[in-house]
Amino acid sequence: MGEPLVKVYIEGRPHEVPAGLNLLQASLALGFEVPYFCWHPALGSIGACRQCAVKQFRDENDTRGKIVMACMTPAVEGTRISIADGEAIAFRAAVIEWLMTNHPHDCPVCDEGGECHLQDMTQLTGHTYRRFRFRKRTFHNQSLGPAVMHEMNRCIQCYRCVRFYRDYAGGGDLHPFALRNLTWFGRSQEGTLASPFSGNLVEVCPTGVFTDKTLHRHYARPWDLQTAPSICVHCGVGCNTIAGERYGTLRRIRNRYHPELNGFFLCDRGRYGYEFLHYARLEAPRGDALRVPQEPDGEARASVSAQDADALLDRAAQFLAASRGLAGIGSPRASLESNFALRRLVGPARFCNGLSARQARLAARAAGILRETPGRIASPADIENADAILVLGVDLLGAGPRFELGARQAALRQAAGRAAQLGIESWNDVFVRIVADREASGLMLVSPRATSLDRAAREVVRASPEEAARLGFAIAHELDAAAPEPGELDEAARGRARAIASALRAAGRPAIVSGIEAGCAELLAATANIARALANAGREACLALLVPECNTMGVTLLSENGIELAADLVARGEADTLIVLENDLARRCPPRMLAELLGRARLLVVDHLATPTAARAALALPAAPFSESAGTLVNHEGRLQRHYAVHPPRPGTRPAWQWLVDLGDRARVPATGTRERAPEPRIAELWEALARETPALAAIAAVGRTAREWGGQPIPRQPARYSGRTAMIAHREVHEPAPPTDPDTPFSFSMEGYPGEVPAEWIARYWAPGWNSVQALHRFHEELAGPLRASGADARAFGRARNDRGHQDPRDERADGTRTGGARPAGGFARPGSLRADALPSPLPATRGILRLLTRQEVFGSEELSDRAPAVRERRPEPEAVIGPEDARALGLSDGGCVRVIGIDGETAAEACAASDASVPGAAGLGLVWLLPLRIDPTLPAGHVVVPAGYREQPAWETVAYARVEKPQEEEA
């Protein structure tokens, strides 16, 4: 802890708390029960609800004291308060009574019931009898889209919703309207909430005004949900979640606090993407063909599926045995265990990471840079704490939504310093924001297109990825003359580079963010040079390189080879059978190439999703998705995190790694033979082998722990209030079956088990006696809004874990000479030479209709899994092609019209540019064609066309770098 301790007296007894807190924070941190509504650990204090009243005394002789709001009163040395004071108790009870005058008595039919902060606070303050005898006011409710339900009659006007939505997340379409007890929160007209963080309203609202609409569609009582710690699978940031299940289906995702990643908030893709599990599941095949003859007496029915699965395994083993050569295609959305099991099955030489050739190169480059970068690798929390942020070539909202939310907080954190000089405490939200409004933001954006953060930025530069890379190299050169110059930079760009460099140099905590979305390896190299130049100049720069999928980084560490490895093996006739792990190949290669591949090879697919690839497989093994299996994922930082099964896999499905390990066993052992039970679960062997064979991932030993290694009683997935356990399957079976065992993890599928504090990464739900809502989280914190108790060391593939929790300024450390920076990797600067070597003239000669293709990562629609969830899918922007006005003129295209975009590879583009006539050889060769409405964006750099990335209609755009844009044929238009 960075802050010194101060002594405060509560009920006359001394307690020590870190300086800088208010009395509410201090009381909660010390374990006192003080009710509150408008305060939120991430949103600060506003003093509106008056619920946290306590009595403060001037000194030990003061016996009268005065009522103060704990949230608005600083806990300074010698502060004396009483929470148990009679007048304070009476006033707190009165506040609840007032709030209840208009709150409906609909708890039994309210989705929030049972995890409602208002219920908890009402209980805590002891308001039981109703004296208000007049009519309650009634409000109009709105339809706010597929994600959030609105029931304004329950509102207690705590203002948290608008403070989160508008102030914290930058949303513009949720307002407080009217005044007095008619204050109403909603949109000016009905419609879908526009903010991609709107789902947090569900957790921010202390009662049932904003509730989860997806949960509502398949509602179960919160205390009836079986839960487990999980990791979001919808981008590469690795936000921590809690997933809840009932009757074998996932019902909702909630935020699981992580101090460095998601903090208190998730994006809507992460919160609502889970419903993909309810659609397009790859079903366990049924039918006599697969079923071994049943015993005449008929075992328990559950075993039928297990037998199905065994039969399926036999079929798969036979299928592989008939192969003349295997190749394994891994997946950036499958766990390390599954990918590694596949690598073991086919051998490292025949295993590829399943990324497109292009993305595999970029991801490998990013991993290489992060491994060697001298500073820390940036998490969203680092971005929040940064005082200068350079975003180079990516749109944070698409590339890693939680980073966008983090970048919005940076200005506020900065303002806290100036606010302190004015005597304003960091938690005094209204005033810190007033001060922040006058502060210059430290955010600098370099992007080809407008982004959601433009209005919050100090500097916005429109540049193509190559121009951004050049600018990046120039910034590095400005910071450190030893960093190579990019050349070819006009004076305006040089001036920008100088300005950005000096802002980074002046900063105490600079951060640089880029990603592989831009499709430009040189851009990554440029960020590496900036980070290194800052390090050489004595600054510790955080660097983040964002990757699109939940295990892109992990699978890259297992193999740097993209899908072309498998294609080459097939083309050379060295493989005729592909094992495809949780991967839709249509997303990884252009249609023509995919057709060739599938024409020559047979597919065995292991997946939980019924993808187009699975549909073309000779055999498909149904795998357990993230919610039905444990698995380890590596996020953009190289952080290894494990998700746990929320409920047992559906009958007939198994975790992918288990299918693959079983297949390996079958290959060695005769199919009918019975295996001896291994002394440890097989997952432990797998981890051991993984750590041995891939030293970068040796940290798996720290995150993977079996039940035996945990050693204690299993940790229950079901809450103590779980109901209906004996009745749930009573229509099929009157005996209560023994809960399934789970030797691979420390958890049980049961209510019974270890009752004490568990390591932070194993927290399956936030609950404490009297605290049934998410607000119970404060009982798990070591410091409010800081680290959780019992959090272990980070498991990292590379990069340094944050060792100082106080976010100290590295310059301070240098001043007293305590810094121990000797272990810095000693890499050199990347040279920008290849920037010219492998790139075509920029901008391209537009008259030939050939443009540099940029893909746009949408929060909704670009990600494979969440796109199948209705609450995400319905919010997907319509696909469109975007070009600049010059190109539109040259090509004779007009806004709103239709264009045909044809993807072409670099070679074809080069040929076309070199050709003397306007022909484009082989333009249709990839089969990547999309008819799209055209939008002209006056700010888009010339020579570029933007299409959405990963849309289901045509998902493979990121595989190519160029496109020809032309008017469609008459009949198409």
Partner: protein, 433 residues
């Protein structure tokens, strides 16, 4: 001032010695000395709270190191029920205010001032617009005032029209274009005010005292008052008096003198039952308090507040329950909705009073009302609106206890019947209407 209500023109104001104080200050007095004069004059705010004006100015950081810009806000959002004193000044003597603004801005080194004007004061707006143009043309406002190095821009801003905008921190929120919610103190406006900059908020009447202090000096100003605090006060009386109106009188004139001599006494046949000494948000005083000097301390000692100094008189034909309901309903209506006790407490009190007045009172209702009087207290609520609102209620419950109890006991209002209105619609009949 003109008897016909015509505003005093710039020429007339100058002829009567106007803007002499400003010339003197710019020529002879450094800003801190102007503040010192105002401090010594014992001028206290005339908007209701009575905070010492010079003291407030003294909190503003001065000199080249001070944050810039600084702001002077003129609170002309006169919405206190029964109060119409600032209107008189705004409509009739605009240059007196402008000179006061210029002096105050000079004293705190503010380069920008806003006149935050009640929305309904359309006439005042026209008068001020005209006067500001005159003053600007004559070099009293704008860049390099009267050839000095001092700049002052004055903007006229019409309020959105809510009572809460008269609360100085809510006024700042409103001026910034936000919801008119009050802000916490500390930080205090002289340090962190509108747009985060040092700000002084001052009532119209208060500023109108400043030119006299600067022009004629502290001893003269102190000599105007009958009491400890300096100067004169605009006193008003409304209700069943012969001549309702506004009078400038020495601070400390007794309530009885104001009513009897200046307002001409009660209208024939009406007897004074009680009066609110300083607007709707002050405690009722009874006829036994007519000898109380209307200054800050004496009224406080009598159990109420000087407030705005404009009395509302309650005579024996008015139902005190109905009158209190009228006041509480206003305050419930005007709650900004920010803090719970005010937002949800005042409507409950209003509904309870309405039930009593309509003959539907219940025995526990008085306890409910007292509960609200106890708990809508300063420090319990976010700002002073609700504590002000319950001042007339708590005193009414004491002074008119018998009236409240009779309403509940008899399930009717005798005043209502005396007016020939008959019983209020209750129950199903009320639902239908």
């Amino acid at each position: 001032m003109h008897a016909d209500g015509r505003p005093v023109s710039l020429a007339e104001y100058e002829a009567a010695g106007g803007y002499r104080a400003l010339r003197r200050a710019l020529a002879e007095l450094p800003p801190a000395e102007v503040t010192a004069l105002v401090k010594d004059s014992r001028l206290r705010g005339r908007g209701g709270a009575g905070f010492p004006t010079g003291g407030k100015w003294g909190f503003v950081p001065l000199g080249p190191e001070a944050p810039r810009p600084k702001y002077l806000l003129v609170n002309a959002d006169e919405m206190e029920p029964g109060t119409f004193k600032d209107r008189l000044l705004l409509e009739n003597d605009p240059h007196l205010l402008i000179e006061g603004v210029a002096l105050a801005a000079y004293a705190i080194e503010a380069e920008t001032a806003f006149l935050f004007l009640r929305q309904e004061y359309k006439r005042a707006a026209a008068v001020l617009r005209q006067a500001l143009a005159e003053a600007r043309a004559a070099g009293y406002l704008g860049r390099r005032i009267l050839g000095s190095a001092v700049d002052l821009e004055v903007h006229l801003h019409a309020s959105g029209g809510r009572y809460i905008c008269g609360e100085e921190t809510a006024l700042m929120s409103a001026l910034e274009g936000k919801r008119a919610n009050p802000r916490t103190k500390p930080p205090f406006p002289p340090i962190v005010g509108v747009w985060g900059q040092p700000t002084v908020v001052q009532n119209v009447e208060t500023l109108c005292n400043v030119p006299g202090i600067v022009a004629h000096g502290v001893p003269w100003y102190l000599s105007l008052s009958k009491g400890k605090d300096g100067g004169t006060k605009l006193y008003g009386a409304s209700g069943r008096v012969r001549r309702p109106g506004i009078w400038e009188l020495p601070l400390g004139t007794t309530a009885g003198e104001i009513i009897a001599e200046h307002a001409g006494g009660m209208t024939p046949g009406r007897r004074l039952r009680a009066f609110l000494p300083g607007g709707a948000s002050t405690d009722f005083l009874g006829p036994e308090h007519l000898e109380v000097a209307m200054d800050f301390e004496a009224v406080q000692a009598a159990g109420s507040r000087l407030g705005t100094g404009t009395m509302i008189l309650l005579d024996d034909t008015v139902c005190p329950v109905g009158a209190t309901l009228n006041l509480i309903r206003f305050f419930a209506q005007e709650s900004c909705g920010w803090c719970t006790p005010c937002r949800d407490g005042l409507p409950w009190a209003a509904a309870t009073l309405q039930a009593i007045e309509e003959g539907r009172g219940e025995p526990d209702d008085l306890e409910i009302l007292e509960h609200h009087c106890r708990l809508l207290a300063p420090g319990f609520t976010f700002c002073a609106l609700a504590p002000g609102a319950v001042e007339p209620l708590q005193s009414a419950l004491r002074i008119f206890r018998e009236d409240f109890e009779r309403h509940i006991r008899e399930q009717r209002c005798s005043h209502r019947e005396a007016r020939g209105e008959g019983p209020a619609l209750v129950g199903a009949a009320r639902e239908k209407s």
